[in-house]
C-alpha cells in the first residue's frame, strides 16, 4: 500500500491527523512518525527569538506536549523577530511563556502546551526536564546553556544547541554518550561582557529563523526516530557574508578532556558555576554575583552599551542607565558593574528580571 493511501485512511479514522497530511507524505515521517511526534514531550527553555520559532514550528508539526519556560515579558523591540507575539500581547502585558501558549492554542488545539513563567536555574530545572524526550535551547546566555548541557547528561536526554547574533548563527545536536557535548566544544563561557549580545550588537530576524528552523528539523528527525539522518556537525553560518560551514566536531568527544560528559562533573547543575542573586532589601535593587572571579573589560562593555545608554566607568566600576519600553511599560534601570563581573541592578526587586537585564546588556 502506498504511503499516501495509508495516510488518507488514517486521516479518515482520526480526523485530527488531516492537518499533518503534507508532513506525513514525507516518507521518513509517514503515519508512524506523526504518531511518535504526537506522543513526544519537549521542553523548550527560553521563549524569545529562537524559542518562538521553535514553538511555532514544532507546535504546528504536532509535537504532542510542549513545556515552555521563560522569565520575561514582551517588549515592542521583540516583535521584529519573535514570531509568536503581537502588539496585543504587549497591551495585555503577558509573560512570553503565556503569550506563546495562547497563540499556540489558536494554531493547534490538539497539542498540550504548558507555560512556566520562571527563571530557570540549577534548583528548578530538573523538575521540568524529567520525563521529557528532548530539551531545546531558546536561551540568551551561556550559563543556562551549560545548565541544559549538564541536565542532558544527568538525565540522558538529548538537546539541541542554537545561538545567534547579528547575521551569525551556531547550532548543534547533542546526544549524551553519542556526540560531543557543548563543553567538549566550548569548555568555558566567555567572561561576562566579553561577547556582544543581541541587545548590544543587534540581531536580524532571518538569522533567528535559520538557526531555530535548523534546530526544529533536527528535533523532528530525532522525535520521529530518524536518528541516522541527524546532522553530526557544528553548523556555523553568516547570512550577511554568505558563508555556511559544517564544522567537523565528531572527534571532540575523544580529544576534549570534558569535565561534563567525560568526568560527569556537572558544575552548572550542582550550582558551583551558577551566578547568584541577592535582592537588596529596601533599595529596589538586585545584586548578581558571578563565580570564577573573571576580570571584566569596561572599555569593551561600554562600547556595546553605547547602543542602549550612556555608560561611564573608571577602573573600579561601570555605570549605565538603561530604559526599556514606553508609556506605562517604561522601565528604568541603572546597571552598576564591578571589575569582577558582579553587578547591582537598580530599579528592580525581581531576581529573574535582574538576570534578564544582565544577560541582555552585559552578557553571561
Amino acid at each position: 500500500m502506498a504511503l499516501s493511501e495509508s495516510a488518507e485512511q488514517l486521516e479518515k479514522s482520526d480526523p485530527t491527523l488531516a492537518r499533518y497530511n503534507r508532513q506525513m507524505l514525507w516518507g521518513p515521517i509517514g503515519v508512524e512518525g506523526q504518531r511518535k511526534l504526537k506522543q513526544s514531550r519537549v521542553l523548550l527553555v527560553g521563549c524569545g527569538a529562537l524559542g518562538t520559532v521553535l514553538a511555532n514550528t514544532l507546535g504546528r508539526a504536532g509535537v504532542g506536549h510542549l513545556t515552555i519556560i521563560d522569565r520575561d515579558f514582551i517588549e515592542i523591540n521583540n516583535l521584529q523577530r519573535q514570531v509568536l507575539f503581537d502588539q496585543q500581547d504587549i497591551a495585555d502585558q503577558l509573560p512570553k511563556a503565556l503569550a506563546a501558549q495562547r497563540q499556540l492554542a489558536r494554531i493547534n488545539s490538539d497539542i498540550q502546551v504548558e507555560a512556566v513563567v520562571t527563571d530557570v536555574n540549577h534548583n528548578n530545572i530538573l523538575q521540568h526536564a524529567r520525563g521529557q524526550d528532548l530539551l531545546l535551547d531558546g536561551t540568551d546566555n551561556f550559563e543556562t546553556r551549560f545548565l541544559i548541557n549538564d541536565v542532558s547528561i544527568h538525565l540522558n536526554i538529548p538537546w539541541i544547541y542554537g545561538a545567534c547574533i547579528s547575521a551569525m548563527g551556531l547550532a548543534m545536536v547533542i546526544r549524551p554518550g553519542v556526540t560531543p557535548c557543548l563543553r567538549c566544544i566550548f569548555e568555558t563561557s566567555p567572561p561576562p561582557g566579553m561577547n556582544p549580545t543581541c541587545d548590544t550588537a543587534g540581531v536580524l530576524g532571518p538569522t533567528v529563523n535559520m538557526v531555530a528552523s535548523w534546530q526544529a528539523m533536527e528535533a523532528i528527525k530525532l522525535l520521529t526516530g530518524n536518528v541516522h539522518a541527524l546532522n553530526r556537525g557544528l553548523l556555523s553560518f553568516d547570512l550577511w557574508d554568505n558563508r555556511y560551514q559544517q564544522l567537523n566536531v565528531a572527534r571532540a568527544r575523544d580529544i576534549a578532556d570534558c569535565p561534563a560528559c567525560k568526568h560527569h562533573n556537572l558544575e552548572y547543575l550542582s550550582g558551583k558555576f551558577s551566578s547568584s542573586t541577592t535582592t537588596l532589601c529596601g533599595r529596589n535593587a538586585v545584586q548578581i554575583s558571578q563565580p570564577g572571579g573573571h576580570r571584566v573589560d569596561f572599555e569593551h562593555i561600554a562600547a556595546g552599551l553605547r547602543a542602549v545608554g550612556n555608560p561611564t566607568f573608571n577602573k573600579f566600576m561601570l555605570k549605565c542607565p538603561i530604559t526599556e519600553g514606553r508609556g506605562e511599560r517604561r522601565r528604568e534601570y541603572e546597571l552598576t558593574l564591578f571589575a569582577d563581573g558582579r553587578a547591582i541592578i537598580k530599579g528592580v526587586n525581581d531576581a529573574a528580571v535582574a538576570r534578564a537585564v544582565y544577560a541582555k546588556y552585559v552578557g553571561s
Binding site: 527569538a49 546566555n141 545561538a163 566550548f186 566567555p190 549580545t197 556555523s236 564544522l247 580529544i255
Partner: protein, 91 residues
C-alpha cells in the same frame, strides 16, 4: 603561506568591520599572532596566555577543528581557510 582568516561578527569591533584578513604564516599560531599584532585587543579575545587559546574560542582550518590536527602548530598552506568560531550566546 598566504591564508585567509575569517573574522566572526563578535570580533569585528576590533577589526573595524573587516571580515577577512590575509596573513602569511606557516602554521596556525603564526597566522593568529599576525592577526593579534595587527589589531589591538585581539590577543585577549583569542589567547588565555601565549600558546594557549581561550577555551571559549575554536579555530578551524578548512572546517576541521585544529584540536584534531596539530593544534596551534597545525601547518597551513596557500589558500587555506582559517575560521575563528567563538562561543556566542544570543537567542
Amino acid at each position: 603561506m598566504a591564508v585567509k582568516i575569517r573574522i566572526p561578527t563578535p570580533l569585528r569591533q576590533l577589526t573595524k568591520g573587516v571580515d577577512l584578513v590575509e596573513v602569511s604564516a606557516g602554521n596556525v599560531e603564526g597566522a593568529l599572532q599576525q592577526l593579534c599584532a595587527k589589531y589591538a585587543g585581539m590577543d585577549k579575545r583569542l589567547f588565555k596566555q601565549p600558546g594557549e587559546l581561550n577555551r571559549f574560542v575554536n579555530i578551524y582550518v578548512n572546517d576541521e577543528d585544529i584540536r584534531f590536527l596539530e593544534n596551534l602548530r597545525t601547518p597551513i598552506q596557500d589558500g587555506d581557510d582559517v575560521s575563528i568560531v567563538p562561543a556566542i550566546a544570543g537567542g
